[in-house]
């Protein structure tokens, strides 16, 4: 029983990471109807930026905030400079651009920082909180940080005029222009936000998986499974999907062995696509004409 509880709790911690990356995927998907394959590498690169800042003596939380801001700017620039020019290109061209971004960021990180695996600090104490033996403080802290981020994002999109304009621009660019929304900038902001969320996920997961250029490749796969499970067009679903995938992965992995953990994600992806392609919460759009 203790083992199971432990598996569930640490599943929630990694689930939070998957939820964040899945949310970033969904945000880009809603605007472009494409999966941004470079989402994980963006997060990885941002984590390296955080690492460099800390190496240069910047305190942890200052480096955290600075990295998130840099990642946001990087996301905006990538959208404006690389994605916008292929906006009207065929789907395959855009997919190639995303994959190119993935490869470029990965190689760039390897070139600048080498492929040597580096330890990454956790801001949370190493002794377990509240003297419990089920969950490490880093896992608990990571869950807390993810939840705060998710709530902030929800409030932003649900209750602010800018959030509403961003949703509108993603759903219906033509009508958005007709009410005066600068659609190009809204999409760029979306990329910035997605990159910022990814950066936080990268920083939170790095102490567990260690820092190296391929640290996010597995996570991206889980996040993809999470997004599909929740419904690729449903931000809330993606978040819930992330936590579900995290827990399932841990619990099933402990039963059938850690070597097969990644299989869980693949089985989920195939299963969802076969049984319920719109996912658990994918909205079936009701329209009357």
């Amino acid at each position: 029983m203790d083992v199971l509880l432990h598996q569930i709790l640490s599943g929630l911690a990694t689930g939070g990471i998957y939820a964040s990356v899945a949310l970033a995927l969904v945000m880009i998907y809603q605007a472009t109807h494409l999966v941004n394959f470079a989402q994980g590498e963006l997060a990885m690169f941002a984590t390296y930026i955080a690492w460099s800042l800390m190496q240069a003596g910047v305190p942890y939380w200052a480096a955290f905030v600075l990295t998130v801001a840099i990642a946001f700017a990087l996301g905006v620039v990538i959208e404006r400079v690389i994605v916008q020019p292929v906006e009207n290109a065929p789907i395959l061209s855009v997919v190639i651009v995303f994959i190119a971004l993935l490869v470029i960021l990965n190689s760039l990180a390897g070139w600048i920082f080498t492929y040597t695996i580096k330890p990454f600090p956790s801001p949370f104490p190493s002794a377990p909180l509240f003297g419990n033996s089920y969950v490490t403080s880093h896992e608990l802290g990571s869950i807390g940080v993810t939840l705060v981020v998710l709530v902030l994002i929800f409030v932003f999109f649900r209750f602010t005029p800018l959030g509403l304009a961003m949703r509108a621009a993603a759903q219906n660019p033509v009508s958005s222009r007709l009410v005066g929304i600068r659609v190009g900038w809204m999409l760029a902001l979306g990329w910035g936000l997605a990159a910022a969320i990814g950066a936080i996920a990268g920083i939170m997961v790095a102490p567990t998986v260690f820092l190296e250029p391929n640290m996010m490749s597995g996570i991206l796969l889980y996040a993809f499974a999470a997004a599909l499970l929740g419904g690729i067009d449903s931000p809330g679903g993606a978040v819930l999907g992330g936590f579900i995938v995290g827990v399932l992965e841990n619990v099933i992995g402990s039963i059938i062995g850690t070597e097969l953990k990644l299989t869980v994600a693949l089985v989920l992806i195939v299963g969802v696509l076969v049984i319920r392609p719109s996912g658990l919460f994918g909205k079936v759009l009701v329209t009357r004409v």
């Binding site: 304009a165 759903q171 009508s175 222009r177 007709l178 009410v179 759009l285 009357r288």
Partner: protein
């Protein structure tokens, strides 16, 4: 006095296909101009050209400033609201959110709140359904929503693309009554594209008859409506 909207030698094309072949027309400050014509005459394209949604040549002047070649969102920000062909509803968002988007460019919060009430006054149905997903509204309700969304901008010029399309005659009557009120009370000028020539001519002061991308006849709405020959051959009523 110069007209609010002044268009000269307007040409427009979709790819290699030219749709407008040099049109001249205008809208008086506070006036209502209607553009009539058969399917494919270029009515919708004319409205799209005015707010920068298609590639154009020629001069378009709004309130004394050239707007041809400018981005749609910049033209909109000058006070040109467009009720597009197909209504352009944000189907996933609620009715209230659709209206709030209409006021996206405005910063005068109190006035916006008052305008919400005004729109709900014009169209009580929208108030009843304010929390509902806009895609679930009926065609008539979506047209009301499209008009309200455009008015939330507090436009100086309202472009209306076949507002009567697909609506029951009674609802069309209501809608045109409200256009008259908006025009007279709020001094909103209008450029109305219509297939329902009889209704359009009764509302408008100026009329242009369009045939395959050219202005065939223009004049006061009254003249055009009175002319038997024009009526029979072009307006079909």
């Amino acid at each position: 006095m110069a007209r609010l909207l002044e268009v000269r030698a307007l040409q427009a094309q979709y790819g290699p296909t030219k749709v407008l072949h040099g049109m001249d027309f205008g809208v008086e400050e506070g006036g209502i101009t209607t553009i009539l014509g058969a399917n494919g005459a270029g009515k919708t394209t004319t409205l799209r050209a005015v707010c920068g949604m298609v590639k154009t040549q020629g001069e378009i002047t709004f309130a004394g400033a050239r707007i041809d070649g400018r981005a749609t969102e910049s033209i909109v920000r000058l006070g040109v609201a467009h009720v597009p062909d197909g209504r352009g509803t944000f189907v996933n968002l609620s009715v209230e959110e659709n209206l709030r988007l209409g006021a996206h460019t405005r910063r005068d919060k109190n006035e916006v709140a008052a305008d919400f009430e005004r729109m709900y006054g014009y169209f009580p149905r929208l108030k009843e359904r304010s929390r509902q997903q806009a895609g679930t509204l009926s065609g008539g309700e979506q047209q009301m929503l499209a008009v309200s969304r455009a008015l939330m901008l507090r436009p100086r010029l309202l472009l209306l693309d076949e507002p009567s399309f697909g609506l029951a005659p009674r609802i069309v009557q209501e809608l045109f009554e409200i256009f008259r009120v908006i025009n007279q009370a709020d001094r909103v000028s209008m450029l109305l594209v219509e297939q329902n020539a009889a209704m359009a001519l009764r509302l408008a002061d100026h009329a242009y008859l369009l045939e395959t991308g050219r202005v065939l006849i223009s004049g006061s709405a009254e003249e055009l409506g009175r002319d038997e020959a024009i009526r029979r051959s072009y307006l079909g009523y």
